[in-house]
């Protein structure tokens, strides 16, 4: 049933030239990127457009006193200055909680704060001017009296009796806590053959989209509409947000999102400065542009992954996992971020620890607290790299304690490939995973014996190399169980409208969005395959709330699985409609006809009967010649939502081969492998590149990236020279392999592939480093694994 064959779904035979699903078709929208002809939000220039810049809080926590705007208003080119009070007149605050996260709380957040700044970098006053430079000059001329207040920066003390309570009306700094407990954890640890434990730290990261956050809001007083050009992952969600908080009808707000210069989760959240821009446009009645600069990006883009995890693992004498016991703590900044909330990442840690393994006893608690640092929220592979590093770090410790090979302990514990459907201890339901097949595939790719021999030989020369593994699961194709049931207007369904124009060309508009991952390419492939036309005859429209079916956009790896299925269903429906019309024209039964490469053919013989161009001519210009009662609308829309499973889990395993210089603490990445199972692979090249890019973002977290604050809450990593992201010279060659276990929820069978690389890479690298350091009796569990931390672990520095 789940094979895409002519018999199963009425498509053309797979060997036809337009059988694109599963082929590495180059992206139709790539040539404009390589020629500099894309349109990013900053490339859009509108008549009467003005530019915004923000004065941002220099303090982690401060009362906002008098704001003197006179000097700023005197700066050449400055048009207007807006304070929190000014914007509150037209814009309502938001509170980012979800009903299904029991007990969750957060404080109301305004586009610009009314009385207190709660993190360094929070936008406080806005200046609008004729140019960005003039707006910045205006900001420099503002005089704001800040009264610094004690800052709560350390998550470990956020709940202490003497903590600074950031929002007194909340009573304390606790945002959310959840414990999942199944089985007899205490008993399992008491009877264990070995217990291993460690304290893990994951660094505070941010996304560093190369295109910073960008927005132009244009309020037209004549027709009462707000048009927003926005670099965003979720145009429809933002349409709802702008409408609700600016007290407008959703239908009067249009969000247009052309090319997006990277998102990775950074651009799916509501940022106060961006809402301020919309509010200012509403007041001014003219377009206002705001392009965050890199300093603003570091201080005000969401951060993520700031976790401290204490974890234990109990195993029996055969190396079987008896129990995991995990205590996760995360600091999320002063507000939960709207509308997804900042409790999801901790919640994911609870859902995902131990995920690849078959065991019974589980306890995991997450505690989510407020602090005076930049807000954190969902960033690529939300919670996965944390849970994977904890799980896989413990597995390697257990293997070491048992004297067992790290591959062997995994083989003994990975959920069997025939065990599905399977429900994990924290309640995740797996439809079908392939851990053992993936491990086997990985071992075909990684020359383990050769590597171990090389490692042994190198150690004799004082060269320390290590091989590390990390199995993982990844949550994709989310249903409304992720956000919708909590009350958020975040759509888990998505739609696609496919139409045939008179020349036989196809136009498909979809609610999922293109961020560079290749969404438009796979939609074109799927539609071309589904209708039966060359892929070059398909045009894709995304990123416009006024012209695309309502959908959720890009998040949680849903583009192929949800958007792709909607596209496939609508393409099949259009094909059936075309064949009905063709049947009437050709005096043939529609079932006897097919469409191949833009021609209506005889299904049995493959003989060409008519071109779609000719069919289009008749339908659109000589409809008088068709039977009066013939349905001839060559346009079809289908929406898709998953129904059986809350999420389509994927799985995979990575291996990392590194060399550690014990004298300098430097880690050299030698080679990296990943096998992942994202179900049906629509475009192998694009999936491989998603995995590779994801691995490198994982490497960033493992080795380089860290938003460093001092104890007062001052951000120290404010430039690209301080916050280190991976560059080409240090990156390894990466090998990607696939196992395909399609989901049965859809015809297409695709699951998500965008986060697998990021989910597994840090754990694999950590285990590889620790494998290298093992003869030196050192190990590290605190990311990023900097030279300083490695030298400390080695005792080279105190």
């Amino acid at each position: 049933m789940n094979e895409i064959t002519p018999a199963s779904i009425g498509l053309s035979r797979e060997d036809l030239p337009n059988s694109y699903i599963g082929r590495s078709v180059p992206r139709p929208n790539a040539p404009k990127l390589v020629q500099g002809r894309a349109t990013y939000t900053d490339d859009v220039v509108l008549p009467r457009m003005v530019h915004a810049a923000f004065l941002r809080s220099p303090h982690a926590h401060a009362r906002i006193g008098a704001i003197d705007t006179s000097a700023a208003l005197a700066v050449p080119g400055v048009i207007r200055v807006f304070t929190g009070a000014d914007l509150a007149k037209v814009c309502d605050p938001w509170v980012a909680t979800l009903d299904h996260l029991k007990g969750m709380k957060s404080a109301p957040q305004h586009p610009l704060p009314l009385s207190r700044a709660t993190w360094q970098g929070e936008p406080v006053v806005a200046v609008v001017a004729e140019s960005r430079a003039a707006a910045e000059d205006g900001v420099a001329a503002l005089r704001v009296e800040f009264e610094p207040l004690p800052a709560q920066t350390d998550m470990e003390t956020a709940l202490a009796p003497d903590a600074v309570v950031i929002h007194p009306e909340l009573g304390d700094n606790l945002v959310f806590t959840r414990t999942a407990e199944t089985g007899d954890v205490a008993g399992a640890f008491a009877s264990a053959h070995k217990v291993v434990e460690a304290r893990f730290v994951t660094g505070r990261h941010t996304g560093v989209t190369l295109e910073p956050r960008s927005i132009i809001a244009d309020y037209n007083r004549a027709d009462g509409t707000l048009t927003v050009h926005h670099s965003t992952q979720a145009p429809h969600m933002m349409q709802g947000v702008f409408a609700k908080h600016l007290r407008m009808e959703e239908g009067d707000v249009r969000v247009i999102c052309k090319d997006v210069g990277g998102s990775f989760g950074i651009k799916v959240h509501v940022y106060p400065d961006e809402v301020a821009v919309a509010a200012m446009a509403r007041i001014l009645g003219r377009p206002v542009k705001f392009i965050a600069d890199r300093f603003e990006a570091f201080a005000s883009d969401i951060h993520a992954r700031d976790h401290r995890i204490k974890a234990r693992l109990a195993v029996d004498g055969q190396g079987k996992v008896l129990a995991f016991d995990v205590d996760d703590l995360t600091g999320i900044g002063p507000y939960s971020v709207y509308p997804r909330t900042s409790a999801i990442e901790g919640n994911q840690v609870v859902n995902l620890c131990g995920g690849p393994y078959d065991f019974k006893n589980y306890r995991c608690t997450t505690t989510v607290v407020l602090q005076n640092k930049a807000p954190t929220c969902q960033y690529r592979a939300v919670g996965h790299p944390i849970a994977t590093a904890v799980t896989e770090g413990l597995m390697d410790l257990a293997a070491e304690a048992l004297g067992m090979d790290p591959i062997e302990i995994r083989r003994r514990n990975l959920i069997a490939d025939d065990a599905y459907p399977y429900t994990s201890p924290p309640g995740m339901r797996f439809e079908g995973l392939s851990h053992h097949a993936s491990l086997d595939k990985l071992l075909e790719m990684v020359p383990v014996a050769k590597i171990r021999a090389d490692q042994e030989e190198a150690r004799k020369r004082g060269v320390h190399r290590g091989l590390g593994f990390a199995a993982f699961i990844e949550l994709t194709n989310p249903s409304p169980f992720m956000y919708g049931i909590g009350g958020a207007r975040i759509s888990a369904q998505d739609g696609c409208t496919v139409r045939m124009d008179p020349d036989g060309s196809i136009v498909a508009s979809s609610g999922v969005t293109e961020q560079g991952q290749g969404t438009e390419a796979i939609l074109a492939q799927i539609v071309a395959h589904g209708v039966g036309v060359p892929v070059s005859r398909v045009k894709i429209i995304t990123g416009d709330t006024q012209t695309t079916p309502y959908g959720g956009g890009t998040w949680a790896c849903r583009g192929a699985g949800i958007g792709g299925e909607a596209a496939l269903q609508s393409a099949i429906a259009l094909k059936q409609q075309i064949l009905e019309v063709a049947g009437a024209m050709l005096q043939a039964a529609p079932e006897s006809l097919d469409i191949s490469m833009g021609n209506v053919t005889d299904k049995a013989t493959g003989a060409e009967r008519m071109t779609l161009h000719e069919l289009g001519r008749i339908v659109y210009f000589r409809g008088d010649t068709l039977p009066k009662d013939l349905q001839r609308e060559l346009v079809q829309t289908r929406h898709f939502i998953t129904k059986e499973y809350p999420f389509a889990f994927t799985n995979g395993i990575q291996a990392s081969w590194v060399e550690v210089d014990p004298m300098t603490g430097m880690v050299k990445l030698l080679e990296h492998w990943c096998v992942e199972d994202c179900g049906r692979v629509v475009n192998p090249m694009l999936v491989d590149e998603q995995v590779r890019g994801g691995i490198v973002q994982g490497i960033g977290g493992a080795l380089y990236e860290n938003c460093v604050y001092d104890s007062e809450g001052n951000l120290l990593t404010t430039t690209l020279a301080d916050y280190l992201v991976p560059m080409s010279a240090e990156m390894p060659e990466m090998h990607v392999g696939h196992v395909e276990t399609p989901t049965r929820e859809s015809l297409l069978g695709a699951k998500g592939a965008g986060e697998a690389g990021t989910a597994g890479a840090p754990g694999a690298i950590m285990n590889a480093i620790n494998d290298a350091l093992r003869p030196l009796n050192a190990r590290v569990h605190e990311q990023p694994f900097t030279p300083e931390r490695i030298l400390r672990a080695l005792g080279a520095i105190a």
């Binding site: 300098t664 120290l716 280190l724 030279p787 300083e788 030298l791």
Partner: protein
């Protein structure tokens, strides 16, 4: 951020420069390649009144050898330095340093004069010219000065340049010497966590005039007097290298930075000392 509002003037010659500088006084800020200055303007750390562009002053260009010195004009861009045959022959330390400086696009604009004048403590070229015992030739309306490189760097981002004075050239004495540069940087092209530019001669099996100059570990290039002295007159071997490493502790007073504590920089400096000096041993010496 956008650069602040400022003026711009371009000098066509040194005499022209002196009159432009006289006109603008303390508001003037010299700009050559601009690869550091313009980045700092984007942080709005300083707001110069007028940038005075010296890149078209012919007197500041050119690389030549005469009277026993290699003269490198201040406007020599890093990329030019890296591919110049005279530099490769007479100061291969500089040739070796160039690939460590940032990235190709930066090296195409940044100049040796600019690097020395900015005096970043983690920069490679200041350390190299101290190691090579070079002389910084300066120019001003008052005339030329010749400042030994070891005296040129006075404090964090501070040099011996007077107001209204610019670097005209660097002169490196021609000598048979061994030299090497190594650094530990997080990524290719990053400023070093610690680096060492070293030059020495070996005469009759003995180390002569060793100059171990560390960067990224102090307020400027650090000529390690004690470590260098520990090598002077001794055979270069495991014992003398260990002695240099041991003596290094008192030569350095590194600051804390984002990469780690002073202790880490000391440690890395010791490691580099061993690696660079061992690199000078030829295989037969190692065997002996």
């Amino acid at each position: 951020m956008k650069w602040p509002a400022m003026g711009y003037a371009r000098a066509a010659s040194l005499p022209d420069l002196w009159s432009v500088l006289a006109q603008h006084g303390s508001a003037a800020q010299i700009i050559a390649g601009g690869q550091t200055l313009l980045a700092t303007l984007a942080f709005r750390l300083s707001e110069p009144g007028t940038l005075v562009d010296i890149t078209r002053i012919p007197e500041l260009r050119g690389i030549s050898v005469s009277s026993g010195v290699l003269r490198i004009g201040a406007l020599t861009r890093h990329a030019e330095l890296g591919r110049d045959a005279l530099v490769a022959r007479h100061a291969p330390l500089l040739t070796a340093a160039v690939p460590l400086i940032a990235h190709p696009a930066i090296r195409n604009r940044g100049t040796i004069g600019g690097s020395l004048a900015y005096a970043d403590p983690a920069a490679e070229l200041p350390a190299c010219i101290v190691a090579l015992d070079a002389v910084v030739v300066t120019a001003s309306a008052a005339g030329e000065r010749r400042i030994p490189a070891r005296d040129f760097f006075t404090d964090l981002l501070q040099t011996a340049l007077n107001p209204g004075e610019i670097i005209a050239a660097v002169e490196i004495p021609l000598a048979e010497r061994r030299s090497a540069i190594q650094e530990v940087a997080r990524r290719s092209g990053d400023y070093a966590m610690a680096g060492l530019a070293a030059a020495l001669r070996i005469e009759g099996g003995r180390v002569v005039a060793p100059r171990l100059v560390y960067f990224g570990v102090g307020t400027g290039p650090v000529l390690a007097a004690r470590a260098s002295a520990a090598l002077e007159g001794r055979a270069l071997d495991a014992a003398s290298i260990a002695a240099a490493q041991a003596a290094l502790g008192e030569d350095l007073d590194p600051p804390q930075d984002l990469h780690g504590p002073p202790e880490m920089k000391r440690h890395l400096a010791r490691v580099l000392t061993g690696r660079v000096l061992n690199g000078f041993l030829n295989p037969s010496e190692i065997a002996a």
